[in-house]
């Protein structure tokens, strides 16, 4: 039995349709991540699952219970907000214990569970501080602690790391991964950072304008994107797309209009080059250098080379594609194989 | 019963006396009385409002101008007042005072005390300048001409604050002096244009000899006391402080706040005349106890009777200089209260009988005025109409506008006539 099921779920704000019919099954213990560009409806979908937004049409099942009409307090889910949404007037201990207290548990039991959560999340040292006296990462941990204590059916995360600075984000990402390993709970996670999505998810749901563009494991999405949107959305720097007509010597499936190839699957060299161009700009990043090559009508292509390349802007280069790694797309943008 | 008693005598010392009388009454009758001070200028509105709310006090101490209008509006229980007068004996009252409150089949209220308005002037300065006492328009104007020298000496301090009763009183006095009245035997009548213009021009002249500002009794007295005014119109209530008996309003003409010098230098005129009315007129005010329609009638009647009998001495002693007894005595002793009054001390912080302070003929002049004092509409039996006109303050307003130069005299008379006609 899936832990959570969405059936043809829609959301309308007045006349505007924001979620355009989403069907999804999430298994017990799965880590599912919603990604997509800003405004595609990730948060809205998550909030509908939480019960914070009304579901305009369709059904949301938790286990096999229809929860569509239930208020949030009855759904038994826990949510971690982007802004942490801690209760600023309560100590960390009270924040973490609050859901239990609302549920009317006896103090002894609350204390036990709160201490347990504090141990798991290493919060012990600052249980009596107020949220404002905590750093961003600590606050995030408190917010997670507050969700853990209730043993919820599923955890919902809405961009939990986007308010942290880069270094801390890496660290917290690691901790969330660990937490999922430890709890083995169902987690639904919204982000627009594809690194987070790729590294954390069991399954990624790519949303595009309120519709699901593709669902799959990170590797599936990276290696076999179902359409142009996913192909370009996943991977950094993004996949190069060029018109098939401008590529020499590739055997392409029927109907292929565009060819996609990732920067790391191109090598430089004159012999058997699929495309020629001139180096436009070099972006030295230490380990690698990304070379932007201006290929005239084929557009600007990015190539990944070693950090210590000797190329200079203006050099003429040929680009050789790793032919097993090219992707073909038809005129509707769908992958052809 | 607990009675509520509204009084316009609201100075703390005077209130204290009234409370004392109330306490005596309580001891005698078992009814307690709550004495509530009401500012005289608010009295009309507040009584009407309280009437509408069914929340009238039991007894109101009020000036003449309200007696008949209130009786008509149903605020006063005239039958109760009539009964009180009868119980006390109509014959024991001064007939003039009673007459002013008479209505068909009885009396609107019970007369309590009265006084005559006086023109107070600096006799010493008049003498110095060889002036006649200010008994007429002409004399006043002549004195203004000679003595007006601001800011050391203002010729006059005329009332110009239009929402103060004081201005109504002074104006009525000046109008009466020239024989002008807005009411005749048939009710409202047109003002006589020529005579009214004389009044207006006269009033404007004395207003121009006054300091600027909205003036009323306060400035009049203060300026006179500081020796900066040659003439004012005031009530006899001034007599005690003029003699330095009251610390909160001391004569400041010299450094001694208890000085009697100013009193000695002061002359008084009650009967005042204008060019169109050489006989002149005095202006008197009578105060009444009104029993209201919402009163606990029996207790209220008892209270009024007490105040006019055993408590009458105390009532008069509030300020004997301005409260001449209109009930002269009882059936047994027809001059009991008049005699009592003559012995009462005036003053607040220091006390002395009036006779110690002023010459007897001056006192006689003051007291005697009450019997001949007039008001608009009394002779004609149209006092009620006249009171309404006064209460509406239209005359004050238009005269003030005339003084401020908004209209000329003739236009003002026309305006006055139409405004007076507009008072239903």
């Amino acid at each position: 039995m899936p832990s959570l099921t969405l059936k043809a779920v829609e959301k309308w704000f007045g006349e505007v349709q924001v979620i355009k019919g989403v069907d999804l099954e999430i298994e017990e213990g799965e880590f599912v991540i919603f990604v997509g560009p800003s405004g595609c409806g990730k948060s809205t979908l998550l909030r509908m699952i939480a019960g914070l937004e009304e579901t305009s049409r369709g059904q949301i099942l938790i286990g096999d219970r229809d929860a569509t009409a239930e208020p949030p307090s009855r759904r038994g889910l826990a949510m971690v907000f982007q802004s942490y949404a801690l209760y600023p007037h309560m100590s960390v201990r009270d924040n973490v214990g609050f859901p239990l207290k609302s549920a009317g548990l006896p103090p002894a039991e609350i204390k036990e569970k709160v201490d347990e959560a504090a141990r798991v999340l290493k919060l012990d040292a600052y249980m009596d501080r107020r949220p404002k006296d905590l750093s961003g990462g600590q606050r995030q941990r408190v917010a997670i602690g507050r969700s853990i204590v209730r043993d919820p059916t599923a955890f919902l995360f809405d961009e939990p790391l986007s308010n942290l600075d880069a270094a801390l984000r890496v660290e917290m990402r690691y901790e969330i991964a660990k937490l999922h390993q430890t709890l083995a709970a169902t987690m639904i996670y919204v982000t627009h950072d594809q690194v987070e999505a790729m590294t954390l998810a069991d399954r990624i749901v790519v949303l595009e304008f309120g519709r699901i563009a593709q669902v799959g494991t990170p590797r599936e999405l990276y290696e076999r994107p179902a359409n142009l949107f996913v192909a370009q959305f996943i991977g950094s720097p993004k996949m190069n797309i060029l018109p098939a007509a401008h590529v020499r010597g590739l055997t392409l499936a029927d109907g292929t209009v565009d060819v996609g190839i990732r920067p790391e699957h191109i090598t430089l060299g004159m012999d058997g080059a699929h495309v020629d161009g001139v180096v436009d700009i070099l972006e030295y990043l230490g380990a690698d250098t990304f070379v932007v090559v201006d290929c005239g009508e084929a557009g600007k292509l990015t190539v990944r080379v070693a950090g210590d390349t000797e190329l200079k802007p203006g050099d003429a280069v040929g680009l050789i594609f790793n032919t097993t790694r090219t992707h073909g797309f038809d005129s509707a943008g769908l992958a052809v194989s | 019963e607990t009675l509520r008693f509204w009084t316009t005598e609201e100075q703390p010392e005077r209130l204290a006396r009234q409370e004392q009388m109330a306490a005596d009454f309580a001891a005698a009758s078992g009814h307690t009385v709550e004495v509530i001070p009401v500012t005289e200028s608010d009295l009309g509105t507040r009584a009407t409002a309280a009437f509408a709310a069914g929340d009238l006090p039991d007894v109101i101490y009020h000036p003449l101008q309200y007696a008949l209008p209130w009786a008509e509006a149903g605020i006063l229980d005239t039958d109760a007042a009539t009964d009180v007068v009868e119980n006390l004996g109509a014959g024991t009252f001064a007939s003039g005072a009673l007459g002013m409150a008479a209505i068909e089949g009885g009396y609107a209220s019970v007369p309590v005390d009265g006084w005559t308005q006086m023109l107070v002037y600096r006799a010493d300065k008049f003498e110095e300048a060889g002036l006649e006492p200010p008994t007429s328009y002409a004399n006043v104007l002549a004195a203004v001409e000679k003595l007006h020298n601001p800011p050391e000496m203002y010729g006059f301090v005329a009332a110009t604050k239009i929402d103060e009763n004081f201005m109504s009183q002074v104006l009525e006095h000046v109008f009466l002096a020239n024989g002008v009245s807005p009411v005749g035997a048939d009710g409202i009548q047109e003002l006589d244009e020529a005579a009214t213009i004389e009044v207006l021009e006269f009033y404007k002249a004395i207003a121009e000899a006054s300091p600027p500002g909205d003036l009323y009794w306060d400035q009049s007295r203060t300026l006179y006391f500081s020796g900066n005014a040659a003439m004012i119109i005031w009530s006899p209530f001034i007599l005690d402080e003029l003699a330095g008996l009251r610390d909160s309003a001391p004569p400041t003409i010299n450094d001694d706040p208890t000085s009697k010098d100013l009193a000695a230098a002061t002359g008084i005129v009650t009967n005042f005349s204008g060019p169109s009315n050489p006989d002149g007129a005095a202006w008197g005010d009578i105060r009444y106890f009104g029993i209201t329609s919402d009163a606990s009638t029996d207790a209220a009647m008892e209270f009024v009777e007490f105040s006019m009998n055993d408590g009458y001495g105390q009532t008069l002693a509030i300020a004997p200089e301005g409260k001449f007894p209109v009930r002269r005595g009882t059936a047994d002793n027809p001059t009991q209260f008049a005699d009592l009054w003559a012995t009462l001390d005036v003053g607040v912080d220091r006390k002395a009988p009036l006779g110690d302070l002023y010459a007897q003929e001056m006192i006689d002049e003051i007291v005697g005025g009450l019997d001949v004092a007039q008001r608009w509409g009394v002779k004609e039996g149209q006092l009620a109409v006249a009171s309404k006109i006064i209460n509406s303050q239209v005359i004050n307003r238009l005269v003030r506008e005339f003084i401020d130069g908004e209209r000329d005299a003739a236009a003002t008379v026309a305006e006055l006539n139409s405004a007076i006609a507009g008072v239903e």
Binding site: E54 | F51, G74, L215
Partner: protein, 414 residues
């Protein structure tokens, strides 16, 4: 898969929320409509009724009874007297009757034709009464011993009076007189002019002074907090206290302001600031500016402090001088709050009553519409006319509000 039209109706969660919302609002709505909406309707009603303060009390029959003659022994003669009158001079009372009990021991000798006596129960029917009617009924009686023993006077048993009169407030007499009276003559136009002068200059002045003060305090220095607090004094103090302070300060007769002006040689004779046309109007307007500049100041300051300092730094870099920055950056940035303030203050100044009432009582050419309401309703006791002025005010108000919402919704997104 999905319909292209939004679903109709509201979902269960939304319904729950709406129900809760109305529940929370209900007490407020009730209270406010009781005290705001209802009175507003009442104002409209009263404005077309010929009603004065005294009419609020419906006419009634006032009755007094007593025993005339002082009977000392059984067999003496006396009269029971009933005096009745209509408490109103102009309103009729219909169907006046009364019943009473004659005390034991009094033998009624003769009964008025309008009355009947059964046993000791007396009942009289006096028919319909005009306004101002009075009636005295006398019943000659002989006194019996029982009366002397009981010492029960006739007035000790209360007489029951009936009689119906219509209340002006609820009957169907209507009149346009109130409005006629309000619009009659030059007075209304003068009042309107005074109101507009007061409102426009009061508002603009307060805004300008507020702007100046805000510019002064829009930098941080020691004592800035104290000054800010100080500059708010005029606004937070009770109106009655500051109004009287002004009256005393500007008293023509013993006010310090005049003394100062005379001493400085500005004027040789005391000026009657609050008693002279047109100075009084100017003075009340200045008072209004003085009292309300703190408010504009506060709002403008808040707005100024929310302006990004980056913008001024950018202008510094761009080489703009302080005055250029003021005109090119500050003024346009403040235009929004200034116009909102202007509109709101305009409306509230228009509505202002206390200030003028306390300062001049509406005299010397300072009578505004609101003061006129008071004058008509209370000083002249003509409630109907007061209500008519109030209706006029309300009309103006609606006009302004329409303008306000049209404008403000763009400015502030209300």
């Amino acid at each position: 898969m999905s319909d292209a039209v939004p679903p109709k109706g509201t979902g269960p969660l939304a319904r729950l929320e709406a129900r809760l919302a109305w529940g929370l609002l209900l007490p407020t709505i009730t209270a406010v409509s009781l005290v705001v909406i209802l009175p507003l309707l009442a104002i409209f009603w009263i404005s077309i009724k010929p009603v004065s303060l005294a009419d609020l009390r419906a006419p009634e029959v006032v009755l007094r009874e007593d025993l005339r003659g002082s009977p000392a022994a059984a067999g003496d003669e006396a009269t029971i007297r009933y005096r009745l009158r209509n408490s109103s001079q102009d309103q009729p009372i219909i169907g006046v009757t009364f019943t009473d009990e004659v005390p034991e021991g009094l033998e009624v000798l003769e009964v008025d034709p309008r009355c009947t006596l059964e046993g000791r129960d007396l009942s009289c029917d006096l028919g319909d009464w005009e306004g101002g009617a009075r009636e005295t009924l006398t019943f000659p009686v002989t006194v019996g011993q029982a009366f002397l023993d009981n010492a029960l006077r006739p007035q000790d048993s209360e007489a029951k009076v009936t009689g119906s009169a219509s209340n002006v407030l609820t009957n169907t007499t209507f009149t346009w007189d109130n409005f006629a009276r309000v619009f009659d003559g030059d007075e209304f136009w003068e009042v309107l002019w005074v109101t507009l002068f007061y409102t426009v200059f009061g508002t603009v002045g307060a805004l300008l002074f507020g702007l100046f003060a805000a510019l002064l305090l829009n930098k941080s220095f020691k004592g800035q907090g104290i000054l800010r607090g100080l500059y708010l004094f005029p606004y937070v103090s009770p109106i009655i206290a500051v109004a009287f302070a002004w009256i005393i300060l500007f008293d023509p007769f013993s006010g310090s302001a005049n003394a100062l002006l005379i001493q400085m040689g500005v004027t040789s004779e005391a000026i009657n600031f609050f008693g002279e046309r047109p100075l009084a109007l100017i003075m009340v307007t200045i008072f209004e500016i003085w009292r309300y500049f703190p408010l504009s100041f506060l709002f403008i300051l808040a707005r100024m402090q929310s302006i990004d300092t980056d913008m001024y730094e950018a202008a510094d870099m761009d080489g703009a001088s302080p005055f250029q920055q003021f005109w090119a950056l500050s003024v346009p940035q403040l235009l929004g709050i200034l116009s909102v303030l202007f509109l709101l203050r305009f409306i509230w100044t228009f509505n202002k009553f206390d200030d003028i009432f306390l300062l001049t009582g509406g005299n010397a050419g300072t009578r505004t519409l609101t003061v006129n309401v008071y004058e008509q309703a209370f000083a002249v006791s003509n409630i109907g006319a007061g209500a008519a002025v109030a209706v006029v005010i309300f009309g103006c108000l609606l006009l302004f509000s329409a303008f306000f919402f049209k404008f403000i919704s763009q400015e502030e997104g209300l």
